[in-house]
């Protein structure tokens, strides 16, 4: 193995004393600490790094940053691999394993590169046009074929074992980007007293100063930056986030960022691999710099061609000289830095400038250098098979028929078509930048809304001006956040010999090069020919052309291609580039691992769960649990029977024959106090409540203001100005909101105070003929016999040294008491109840038995209160007052809600009490041969097997149901081809007069 033969003997900001071994495509290679994967591969002469998306063309490193379209690699192995990572952003670490993508069978010999020869057959929009018919072939043939050929890396199939973390952060000023602009803005904001977060996507802070040879304060710019970064990192109230990509701006100056903790390779770091940040900023300074634009010419994607700034960065930061014979192709002065640096590094340099020499101020700087120049020339074609070997250049004055091609030998071509501000974050909320002809790119200089912009991101390229304006911007942002300390910030002295001037140039006007190999979006293989086709077919607006050609829709989000596409489309349509608009940037700026967004919470605990105070008892008794919202509730107890049905039957039987106990702690519980409590509740509930006396309870319905039933529960008056309400488990949060709305918005004049006390009380229902024996044995201070404590009585007693609230309420239809004790006494209460009931054969029952019991009784629950039913529909009009105003009264009287044709609650059972199974959700129809939406007359809401009756029973909603008792109806479930004949009846399957509870 030739050892890093493209590495210069000295120079660069790498640590040559720390070699780092890594593997690429199975080959062991070596680089240095401080390298990126891209720089290490270049140092080792690996110019071919991948195959392109559509045509499988050879591609190498094109950039040195997050804009990289070509050098995408898959990291890791053994199924935990992560695809499509730009090698330019991967810090080299010991043992790193990477491989190339989208080549089959191998990178050097890729069979699918025949696609490349079929290019004229695979134009833009070909997906829409070619594979339309026959439709079946799309799924069977076309799609698998295209997926195999196109596409990028493959995601690992193994679970991601990396750890992630999420964090919120708050600051006065968020500074995004730590180049010279971001560093100075952060310094200035901090000096003004602001809490600052400074984030940069690289490990090293200094931005372009790693690329450009400039002097600041009499030292190399990069040394100045490193020193300042160190100072900032120990500044109080200033947090520096390295390796952190701020990927999105959201409403209210909230930013999303991901910190690649492991990428930093900090010694002793035991943190997560990545950490996602939600940054809440009062103001934000966008100092994200600028991105260089590629030159568009035939073959402009060949390995060995890269951005001029990137080539300079590889030389200056990493000491890598990827070629000896260097051509610099430009329309601006910045690329002259590359020509100068490579000439100084001993390369043989040719400069091709589209401009006349007298419009290129930097030309003076190379006059005394050994650099060959072609002014007023542009590149027509790049040649070379495995990598670039030569350029064909010609005069840009195409109208002069006499232009003749010249050929330049080059193994490294450095291109620059100008610099575009990186303004993604500025436009994420829809604010469009405006096109600035002076720099040839869209820019937002006055973004407003708490956003500030400086440096390259504002199109400011002069170093001295950049530093001055960044200090000003940082200070302004701090002031806007209310931090106005007047500490002085010294403006450092700068020496940057290269000015910035630019002349628009989008492609060679001679149009001699092959437009099918003139790439605009390299990652998605979109060419000039594709854009021409789009324009020709009328898709000349950028956002239309983007969708037609897929330009800018790859993982790089068109960082390199968008502005060039604007220029080319404008040229094609012969319109001003400022007039055709721009495409819309959306988050994320760069791909984000889903794990980082999920954070530390794994799949098992992604959402919290709630358990009742009796949970340990349920577990001990072998309860099988069911999810009810976030709650874990005891569904049934497996020890009660051989199977689900058997256990439930036993539990129901216990309640009907002796006594059972069920945990009802999940019911919502609210206390209402205050002088106007009675009036308030009278307006909130449909039934009359003013007449409710202290010590009494009542079943109550709440309606929505539109007249539909909202929730049912109980209201108990503990004292004149003290009530306790129960609500259904699922509606607790909604009821809290509803009650607070009534108290604060609708009737703020009422003097009431509400509190959600659901968590305070552990509550059980003890039900069955023997319930009184059990409850009397454990409650002190209350007479619980029928005369003193009739149904709908509430009282406070003692349970040991704790208070207990006793409610004579029955959901099951049996003699029943509900007991509530402070939650900490829950387990003692359960134990006491079980002990008191042991001689009566007490049995705990779960939510399924509860459903069976209430269905036998015809009591409604969630499936019947489905947001469509009224009290009248459910046969509950006796709980609705006609004499008072309350929420929902007025609208419940409108004709649509009182129509005789409405669905009404009925009982349903198989004729002859047969063993047929009824399925909840079935539609009810008169004629089972006519099944359809128009023939449905209702549906089954609840269906259970009744152990008491020995067959299935169901509740349902049926059109004019109350008039159709004894009718025959069919329950149909077309998805399973089920038809069950049923008889309609009243919903009270047992004890219709309620005698069992009234003893």
């Amino acid at each position: 193995m030739k050892h890093q033969r493209y590495r210069l003997p000295d120079g660069g900001r790498i640590d040559r004393t720390s070699p780092v071994r890594f593997t690429f495509d199975g080959k062991s290679l070596e680089g240095y600490k401080g390298d990126t994967l891209a720089s290490a591969l270049l140092a080792n002469g690996r110019h071919l790094l991948g195959r392109s998306f559509k045509y499988h063309r050879r591609r190498g490193v094109f950039s040195a940053g997050p804009e990289e379209p070509n050098a995408l690699v898959t990291l890791g192995a053994d199924g935990a691999d992560e695809p499509n990572i730009p090698a330019t952003m991967v810090p080299l670490s010991e043992g790193l394993v990477a491989r190339s993508q989208n080549a089959w069978p191998s990178l050097r010999f890729d069979l699918l590169s025949v696609n490349s020869m079929m290019k004229p057959l695979l134009p833009a929009g070909f997906y829409y046009k070619t594979f339309m018919w026959p439709r079946k072939a799309w799924y069977a043939l076309y799609e698998p074929m295209i997926r195999r050929a196109a596409g990028m890396g493959e995601i690992g199939q193994a679970a991601d074992t990396s750890r992630y973390e999420r964090r919120h952060a708050h600051c006065d000023v968020l500074v995004v980007g730590a180049g010279p602009a971001g560093l100075m803005a952060a310094l200035a904001a901090s000096k003004a007293g602001a809490r600052v977060i400074l984030a940069d996507d690289r490990d090293t802070l200094g931005g372009s100063l790693f690329t450009d040879n400039v002097e600041i304060d009499n030292q190399p710019g990069v040394d100045w930056a490193t020193r300042l970064a160190l100072e900032l990192s120990v500044t109080d109230k200033l947090q520096v986030l390295r390796c952190t990509t701020v990927f999105g701006q959201y409403d209210g100056l909230t930013f999303g960022a991901v910190e690649r903790v492991a990428d930093r390779g900090d010694p002793g770091e035991t943190g997560p691999r990545e950490r996602s940040w939600v940054i809440h900023a009062a103001q934000a300074v966008i100092a994200t710099g600028a991105v260089e634009r590629p030159m568009t010419f035939a073959g402009n994607d060949k390995p060995g061609i890269m951005l001029a700034g990137a080539a300079r960065r590889y030389l200056n930061q990493y000491g890598v000289r990827p070629g000896r014979q260097v051509a610099v192709v430009t329309n601006n002065d910045d690329a002259y830095r590359t020509a100068i640096d490579y000439a100084d590094a001993g390369a043989d340099v040719t400069l091709v400038d589209t401009r006349a020499q007298d419009t290129a101020p930097a030309s003076a700087l190379i006059a005394h250098k050994d650099i060959r120049t072609f002014y007023e020339h542009g590149v027509v074609t790049a040649g070379g098979k495995r990598r670039v070997k030569r350029l064909t250049v010609g005069s840009v004055h195409a109208e002069e028929k006499s232009w003749k091609a010249e050929t330049i030998g080059a193994d490294l071509v450095c291109v620059s078509a100008g610099w575009s501000p990186t303004n993604h974050l500025l436009s994420h909320l829809g604010k469009k930048p405006t096109f600035d002809p002076d720099i040839g790119a869209p820019v937002s200089r006055e973004p407003g809304g708490g956003l500030h912009v400086c440096g390259g991101a504002a199109g400011t390229f002069d170093l001295h001006k950049l530093i001055e304006t960044s200090v000003e911007t940082g200070r302004k942002a701090a002031n806007a956040a209310g931090r106005k300390k007047r500490n002085k910030v010294n403006i450092p002295w700068t020496d940057d010999p290269v000015p910035y001037a630019y002349t628009p140039y989008w492609r060679h006007p001679g149009k001699a090069g092959d437009t099918h190999t003139s790439f605009v979006d390299m990652q998605h293989d979109v060419t000039v020919a594709d854009l021409e086709l789009a324009a020709q077919e009328g898709f000349h607006r950028p956002d239309h052309a983007k969708r037609y050609t897929t330009l800018g829709m790859a993982t790089d989000q068109g960082k390199l291609s968008n502005v060039n596409a604007l220029g080319l489309l404008a040229e094609m349509g012969e319109r001003g580039i400022g007039d055709i608009g721009t495409t819309t940037y959306r988050p994320p700026y760069a791909p984000v691992a889903l794990g980082a967004i999920a954070g530390s919470i794994g799949a098992d605990a992604f959402r919290p769960t709630r358990v009742t105070p009796f949970h340990r008892w349920h577990k001990r008794l072998g309860a099988v649990f069911t999810d009810a919202g976030l709650w874990r509730r005891a569904y049934y107890y497996s020890r009660h029977g051989p199977d689900f049905a058997g256990a439930v039957a036993k539990e129901v039987e216990a309640v009907r024959e002796t006594v059972g106990v069920v945990d009802v702690s999940t019911l919502g519980k609210f206390e209402v106090r205050g002088p106007d409590a009675a009036t308030f509740l009278d307006r909130v509930y449909a039934g009359p409540l003013k007449s409710l006396k202290p010590g009494c309870a009542r079943y109550g319905l709440m309606l929505r203001e539109d007249g539909i039933l909202f929730d049912d529960g109980t209201v108990s008056r503990l004292a004149d100005d003290h009530y306790v309400l129960t609500t259904s488990t699922a509606h607790t949060a909604a009821v809290a909101e509803h009650l607070d709305h009534a108290a604060q918005v609708t009737w703020p004049d009422l003097d009431v105070a509400l509190s959600n006390v659901t968590e305070q009380w552990a509550q059980i229902a003890v039900s069955g003929p023997k319930a009184r024996h059990v409850v009397s044995a454990i409650v002190d201070g209350l007479e619980l016999n029928h005369e003193d404590f009739p149904p709908l009585t509430v009282g406070s007693g003692r349970f040991g040294n704790a208070p207990v609230r006793v409610f004579r309420l029955s959901f099951s239809g049996e003699l029943a008491y509900e007991l509530a004790v402070p939650a900490r006494r829950a387990e003692a209460l359960w134990e006491a109840v079980m002990e008191a009931g042991v001689n009566h054969g007490i049995m705990p029952y779960g939510t399924e038995a509860m459903t069976v019991l209430r269905t036998e009784k015809g009591h409604i629950a969630g499936p019947e209160i489905d947001g469509r039913t009224t009290a009248e529909d459910l046969g509950l009009s006796r709980f609705v007052s006609k004499k008072k105003d309350y929420i929902g009264r007025r609208m419940s009287e409108r004709s649509a809600l009182t129509d005789a044709d409405r669905l009404q609650l009925v009982g349903l059972l198989p004729p002859g009490e047969s063993g047929k199974t009824i399925r909840a959700g079935s539609h009810l129809v008169t004629d089972p041969s006519q099944i359809g939406q128009s023939t449905s007359e209702g549906h089954v809401t609840t269906a259970v097997f009744s152990p008491t009756l020995g067959h299935d029973i169901a509740l349902g909603m049926l059109k004019r149901g109350r008039d159709r008792h004894f009718d025959r109806i069919y329950a149909v479930f077309p998805m399973r081809n089920e038809v069950v004949e049923l008889r309609v009846r009243d919903p009270f399957f047992i004890d219709p007069r309620g005698a069992r509870a009234d003893v």
Partner: protein
């Protein structure tokens, strides 16, 4: 999105529940159908500043009148709905 609750300070949007137009007033029980339909159903959908009701469900449980620009989500004013507080 952050909503500056007058009591709790700036809080993330996920602490709040949205209801809608804060300008509607519950009519008298005997008001005509139109008044009730307007109260229950009819809502303006302005592009621009809008007074709307938000509930600080995960905070102080206050109903708030938030003036929000529906085109930019900029919040220019927040007050407790219960004026007596």
């Amino acid at each position: 999105m952050r909503i500056p609750c007058p009591w709790c300070g700036k809080r993330s949007r996920d602490e709040f529940r949205y209801l809608g137009d804060a300008n509607v007033k519950r009519p008298a029980a005997d008001a005509d159908d139109k008044a009730w339909v307007d109260y229950v159903y009819m809502r303006d959908n302005p592009a621009g500043p809008h007074r709307e009701l938000w509930y600080h469900a995960a905070g102080c449980h206050s109903w708030l009148v938030v003036t929000r620009d529906t085109t930019t989500h900029e919040i220019t004013d927040v007050a407790l709905a219960d004026a007596k507080s």
